[in-house]
Amino acid sequence: MTFDAWSEELAAAVLEPCQGDETMVLVALQTLQERFGFVPAEGVPLVARLCNVSRADVHGVLSFYHELRTSPPAGRMVRVCRAEACQAVGARDIERAFADAGHPVGSHSESLSVEAVYCFGNCALGPTVEVDGTLHGYCTEEIVAEALR
């Protein structure tokens, strides 16, 4: 996944559809993340201004949703399903394999970010891991090793 470098002009352009609409705060933040890979600090006052809400409101939304990031993603992005259906087929072992390699769930390093997801809806073919946007069912040690490489 490639993202654009932050630019106020670009941000204002992609946020055009949210202009003047206070119900579009979440959409605005999602749009920024899609474009820049995360929500840069400069994005908060911009969204506040465009959507006619306070900065505190924007912060409130930003901090509520697990998926919105405030720091740039670096390296490979791994998302491990931690929910029950995957637990039943070894999700905890997958999580442990990443942890043992120095990348516990919730950690972000230059080379790899590992995040938890509570269900991809792939519950009959778990354990499920997503690597850079690609979903892997029946996740094996090889797939974990590949993701760690």
Binding site: Y65, A85, C119, N122, A124
Partner: protein, 499 residues
């Protein structure tokens, strides 16, 4: 030569794209990326159109393709992976596909295919009816909400129909957060026009002109498929102004969630749709009267809305004839977790749990005895292997101390650590709590700590009593079912653990 290879996310997670890429190199291949037939363990399941009908092969790996070609699979030739006509497969043939009738059968984005298989028959009828008449039909069908609570759809629609004001909404709940559930996703990816048709009928019934589908962000393919289908429906006069010359108009927008389980709770979803933190609203007012932007709003689950076209097309009586007691029609069960034959099973209500997990499901994938079965998502109860004679309808599940929820069934083998499952239920509540009520927000964190002490063997009796008090407090003092029902999996798992 027409060859069907699912573009369903689950099929893709086990290599359907790679298979499709290899098959597309064959000069005679005309590939259709369909939805999944729902026999997940056979994915990627490839079907070829032959003179003997559609012949399936699966599960197909890229490494099987050379031998499939040698076996002349394109004409249905014999091969170890050959399954014959999948609709005659025992797993499929025993089902009653109503809501899922077209999923896997058709090209999801082909309006012609959809119409050739009965699509828009329900809406065509609805266009000739009054709102009152549509509501009466849906009420008579006995259709209940498939999102978890099982509230009668017709009664909800009647409230919205009767609400004052000309600005009304239809909001489809496609947040599908429960682990072990994937039916909404499969329907949206495999037959999006059915959901669009159901929402349009709901709009006609209550007098709404704008609809929105709130899809969890973990479902990017569902989002793009829905958007493409909506565009096609618009182009062909099935959405937008003056639908099929009726003078009625309806538009649908797709919105993405942002990774918060609580946003599946309907009032939290409304807050999220309004761009805010997904904090649960107190009821009343009912969303049916004051919903999206404070306007009367129909909120229904994907499967509820997707069942409506058939109710209109074939009549309420045909739907009502299925099922048992007060659970009418079909339920789309989802077999998940440690299960040999997982996937989608659409059956009339009233099937014993054992028939689902041992009969259809074939027991555990690991081959070990069943250790626990969680029904109804993360807020549903855990049942032991000796409780499988339970009947899966709304009331029977409630009576047994559980709930059917969205129909997800997660199987664990006997290596399951019940205490860890109890701990996870509390932890999940702590992570996903919207923070509005103290028993849910703080209680769940205390709950995790207390279970940790029990696991460590620390003052077990005292901590067990403490945990019970906590559960009581959460049940009584929570505004919504996240805090209110978390004690269900916690207590049932503790019971299985013998603690």
């Amino acid at each position: 030569m027409r060859i069907y290879i699912p573009a369903d996310s689950s099929a893709r997670s086990v290599g359907a794209d790679q298979v499709a890429a290899r098959i597309s190199e064959l000069p005679y291949a005309e590939i259709v990326r369909n939805g999944s037939r729902g026999l997940a363990w056979l994915e990627p399941l490839l079907e070829v159109e032959t003179e003997q009908g559609r012949i399936a092969y699966g599960p197909v790996r890229v490494s099987d393709i050379d031998s499939l070609i040698s076996a002349d699979f394109a004409h249905g030739g014999p091969h170890p992976l050959r399954l014959g006509n999948i609709e005659e497969h025992a797993w499929f043939a025993a089902q009653d596909r109503v809501t899922f009738a077209r999923v896997g059968l058709i090209d999801p984005l082909s309006l012609d295919d959809f119409r050739a298989h009965g699509g828009y028959a329900g809406l065509s009828k609805a266009l000739a009816l009054s709102g009152e008449e549509i509501v009466a039909e849906v009420t008579a069908s006995g259709l209940r909400g498939r999102g978890g609570a099982g509230f009668p759809a017709g009664i909800k629609w009647r409230t919205v129909l009767g609400a004052a004001g000309s600005e009304k909404y239809v909001a489809c709940n496609a947040d599908e957060g429960d682990s072990g559930t994937f039916a909404d996703r499969m329907l949206m990816e495999g037959d999006p026009f059915t959901l669009i048709e159901g929402m349009t009928i709901a709009a006609l019934a209550v007098g709404a002109t704008q609809g929105v589908i709130y899809v969890r962000s973990e479902y990017p393919a569902a989002i793009s498929t829905l958007r493409a289908a909506i565009a096609t429906a618009n182009l062909n006069g099935w959405l937008g102004d003056d639908i099929q010359g009726s003078g009625r108009s309806f538009d649908i927008e797709v919105r993405s969630g942002a990774g918060a389980y609580i946003c599946g709770e309907e009032t939290s979803m409304l807050e999220s749709l309004e761009g805010k933190r997904g904090q649960v609203r107190a009821k009343p007012p009912l969303p049916a009267l004051k919903g999206l932007y404070g306007k009367p709003t129909v909120i229904n689950n994907v499967l509820t809305l997707a069942s409506v076209p058939m109710v209109l097309a074939d009549g309420a009586a045909a739907y009502q004839a299925r099922g048992v007691e007060r659970s009418r029609g079909t339920q789309v069960f989802q077999l998940a977790g440690n299960i040999k034959h997982g996937g989608i099973l659409e059956l009339p209500f009233g099937v014993p749990l054992r028939q689902l997990v041992e009969g259809f499901g074939g027991g555990t994938r690991s081959g070990r005895p069943i250790g626990a079965v969680q029904v109804g998502g993360p807020l549903g109860a855990y049942f032991g292997a000796d409780q499988l004679d339970l009947i899966t309808d709304y009331e029977a599940m409630l009576a047994a101390g559980g709930m059917l929820g969205h129909g997800g069934i997660v199987v664990f083998d006997d290596t399951v650590d019940h205490l860890q499952q109890a701990r996870f239920a509390m932890e999940f509540c702590a992570i996903e709590s919207c923070g509005k009520c103290t028993p849910c927000r703080i209680g769940s964190t205390r709950g995790v700590e207390t279970i940790d002490k029990i696991i460590a063997g620390q003052d077990v009796d005292t901590n067990r009593v403490l945990l019970d008090d906590l559960c009581e407090l959460m049940t009584d003092g929570s505004l919504c079912a996240l805090g209110g029902l978390t004690p269900l999996p916690v207590r049932s798992a503790l019971k299985l653990a013998g603690v």
